[in-house]
Symmetry: C2
Subunit: 217 residues, 2 copies
């Protein structure tokens, strides 16, 4: 472990030579190539997976070219890592929004999380890019693997903290159970479709929360 995710995620969007506070917005509405590339690659990787998407296709879809891409990212793997960082950062931002909205009411936060997670499952047929990366990028020392582990682990910590502050006695057990449910729903959605077991995610998660809540000593 050792390394804090906060530090890793900080390096996600900001670069040493950063000038503008909005981080690379060419005064007109068009973002700078680097950000366009990350945003485009993130979508394409999410949609089609990592291996089948070529760097040339990414660059073209981002309205630029391969050469510019390689001036910002040393390799395709590096770009992948940057995309995953972007995904993780967005997820953390969403979490914070939810946290702020239900400040002081962790129980409401918990049920809101279930709803939002369900939306996330239903929204698109492809699950979590982080998990997908772990499935697809099997090389033991691929830089993405370490990041995925870090992010998932951090997410788990947040869930445990939320459950704990919601007064759940077995906070870790509930947090892990909910994590498994969500992860399962997302992958099940991909293999059997939206009509399969993933359709029961909300119902099951809510029942589980209720069961754990009624056990407070």
């Amino acid at each position: 472990m050792g390394e804090k995710i906060a530090a890793v995620l900080d390096r996600a969007t900001s670069k040493p030579g950063d000038r503008s506070p909005t981080s690379a917005c060419c005064s007109d509405g068009k973002p700078k190539p680097r950000d366009r590339i990350v945003a485009t690659a993130r979508d394409m990787f999410h949609q089609h997976g990592f291996r089948p998407v070529g760097v040339e296709a990414i660059a073209e879809a981002a309205g630029t070219n391969k050469m510019t891409l390689y001036r910002h990212f040393g390799s395709k793997d590096e770009l992948i890592v940057e995309c995953l960082k972007s995904v993780a950062a967005e997820a953390e931002a969403q979490w914070r929004v939810l946290e702020a909205r239900h400040a002081g009411n962790p129980r409401a936060h918990l049920v809101a999380w279930v709803r939002e997670a369900a939306d996330c499952v239903l929204a698109d047929g492809r699950g979590c890019s982080l998990a997908n990366a772990a499935v697809e990028l099997t090389e033991a020392h691929h830089p993405a693997r370490r990041l995925v582990e870090l992010c998932k682990s951090a997410y788990r910590d947040r869930m445990v903290g939320l459950c704990r502050s919601a007064g759940i006695a077995q906070a870790e057990n509930l947090a892990d159970a909910l994590s498994l449910l969500l992860e399962g729903a997302r992958v099940s959605r991909q293999s059997v479709g939206a009509e399969g077991p993933s359709a029961k995610f909300v119902r099951t998660a809510e029942a589980m929360i209720a069961a754990f809540a009624s056990e407070e000593a």
Copy 2:
């Protein structure tokens, strides 16, 4: 759906010109090339994923060559499908063993399933090859996608049947919940490792079964 899985799976190991009852065992212990190829490819695909494993590597690892491979399989995709069929057939066989062992005691069958599923999760770091295929093979009309959907759907039906015969009132809900847990445990095992949420699979699944069982009207 229309097509029965039984029919699909039947085509898995048997071919039109099948002579020996043991299906391709060269009198000596060494299986015939076709079966060696399927077995080897199945392992390699499972370990490293589908895209990164080349047909040449498979053939060599199976103690044969690419040409012989292409005499038995029209394409790499076809080989992939055959491997997935083999995986599904093996899973179904294991299910039947469990079913026979706990014949007449579906409740014991259910808890045995949890244990075996947990072993399966812990055994190797890579999850279910079928689910992995759905994640990795994103082309909408890839032949493997249809098979995966079929198999997962069939597995779900078996689970529902088991829960029902175990006297669970909300059999479908429990079956889906357990499916989500297992699927989630397997993918979580890949992303965060064995110490993550997947470690709680048995505990959670058993608690869930108990909860559903106590609700019989």
